[in-house]
């Protein structure tokens, strides 16, 4: 049954991808991207990757679509009909595809427990997580503690990308910021049904975000997913009620503070570990019991990740939206 469902999803994904590339209407392409993300998320779920599925659904189908749409609003929705060197490109792509497909015959069998991926490093993590960290979700344990350095680096990449977008878009083209005209960007507030449904949904989306954040040690979830979900809730609010109301709830300065604060919280936990006599990001020293210390450390750094991701995604959204108002 899973096999049939998997093949169905993957075929659907390929059809969607072809449609994305073929369509000239960029709005349609972006919408299809959202659908493709949802299909990929479902497929991740079939492949036992619950954490990743959650992230892909929140980021790929939610936030990414909104960002692409706000970029389209600032550029244009139609793509010009010309394609450069169509046949040459097609030949290159086909040849490369054949090489990659040829290589797949040497890959270990799908789902085989004896594949090199499964036998070298990862059994150690599965074996030692209960002993060292004592939390059920191995993905969170690896992300937060064993590979905490990588995650710190990724949080800083997210932060840097956010700063980059602000640098590109925050400076107004005519140097002066256009004032917020009341009633100019009221979003969907004229439409009754989205407004009513949205108002009902937003508190629950926020609650779910918090659940995902703080339940990440026991089930699928964690800072990255929660950050994307909370950001999606606030973006939905901004779309329904207009951007200015959303900015009243969380002003720009607060968003910047959140983006930097989360990263500082993460790094700060590492520094505190050093001050207490451990290594950087070695949470064992945070409490009397090393396992308790690890759990405390993971909760703190996951909070840092969630705060940064929320702050950065919302800052990016507002940067695009403000640009639209000036144009």
């Amino acid at each position: 049954m899973t096999v049939i469902f998997g093949i169905f999803l993957l075929t659907l994904l390929l059809i969607t991808a072809v449609a994305i590339v073929r369509t000239r209407n960029l709005f349609v392409a972006v919408m299809l991207m959202g659908i493709a993300s949802l299909i990929i998320a479902a497929n991740f779920f079939l492949l036992d990757a619950a954490d990743v599925a959650l992230t892909e659904a929140a980021v790929g189908a939610g936030v990414s679509t909104v960002l692409f749409l706000s970029a389209l609003a600032l550029t244009s929705e139609r793509e010009r009909a010309r394609t450069s060197r169509k046949f040459l490109s097609f030949a290159v792509v086909t040849a490369a595809a054949l090489v990659v497909i040829y290589a797949t015959f040497d890959k270990p069998q799908f789902g085989s427990p004896d594949a090199p991926t499964q036998t070298y490093v990862s059994p150690w993590y599965l074996e030692k997580t209960p002993e060292f960290i004592g939390i059920p979700n191995v993905v969170t344990a690896v992300l937060g503690s064993f590979r905490g350095y990588d995650t710190l680096g990724e949080v800083f990449v997210v932060f840097t990308a956010g700063i980059g977008v602000l640098f590109l878009l925050a400076g107004a083209p005519g140097s002066k910021k256009a004032p917020l005209r009341p009633g100019s960007s009221v979003g969907l507030s004229q439409h009754l049904i989205p407004r009513v449904v949205g108002r009902l949904l937003i508190p629950f989306i926020l609650l779910f975000g918090l659940y995902v954040q703080f339940h990440g040690e026991y089930g699928p979830g964690g800072g990255f997913q929660a950050g994307a979900i909370v950001a999606a809730a606030v973006i939905l609010y901004a779309l329904l009620e207009g951007e200015e109301k959303a900015l009243k709830v969380i002003p720009r300065r607060v968003l910047l503070g959140l983006s930097a604060g989360g990263a500082i919280l993460y790094g700060g936990v590492g520094v505190v570990c050093m001050l207490l006599g451990g290594n950087f990001l070695d949470y064992s020293v945070l409490a009397d019991d090393p396992v308790k210390g690890q759990q405390l450390g993971i909760i703190l750094i996951e909070a840092g990740v969630g705060i940064t991701v929320t702050g950065v995604l919302l800052s990016i959204f507002h940067a695009f939206a403000a640009r639209g108002r000036q144009a």
């Binding site: 994305i20 980021v59 990414s64 792509v93 191995v138 993905v139 992300l143 990724e154 990449v157 590109l168």
Partner: protein, 116 residues
């Protein structure tokens, strides 16, 4: 080799190349970014596929499962997705600035203006 396994790898290859085609053949900058996202999604799919173990469950203890899929690729891809959206946003920011300066996001137009 079972059907689903080889099919997963082939879908990865084809999806990768569909994305690559959009990057090299399409002249619209936003379409290129969409192609890049597809390319990225294909890589994500490959990693998660390789971490899957037949008959296993998600790597979370306490739900009665005996064998688990590989948690490592999942950690990598989880963070990569969020980093991916941030870098895509950066790309979109650059495209918006190009549109403001050149009045177009088609590669031909931009090159023509540059030659002048």
């Amino acid at each position: 080799m079972n059907v689903l396994g080889i099919y997963h790898y082939w879908v990865f290859a084809i999806l990768l190349m569909i994305g690559f085609y959009a990057v090299i053949a399409k002249l619209n900058l936003i379409k290129k970014l969409i192609g890049l996202s597809l390319f990225q999604a294909a890589v994500f799919l490959l990693y998660i596929t390789m971490g899957n173990v037949e008959g296993a469950s998600a790597p979370i203890f306490g739900f009665g499962a005996e064998t688990f899929s590989n948690p490592l690729p999942q950690v990598l891809i989880l963070t990569a997705i969020v980093v991916g959206i941030s870098t895509t946003a950066l790309g979109l920011g650059i495209v918006v600035r190009i549109k403001e300066e050149y009045g177009s996001i088609e590669e031909h137009d931009i090159q023509e203006i540059d030659r002048r």
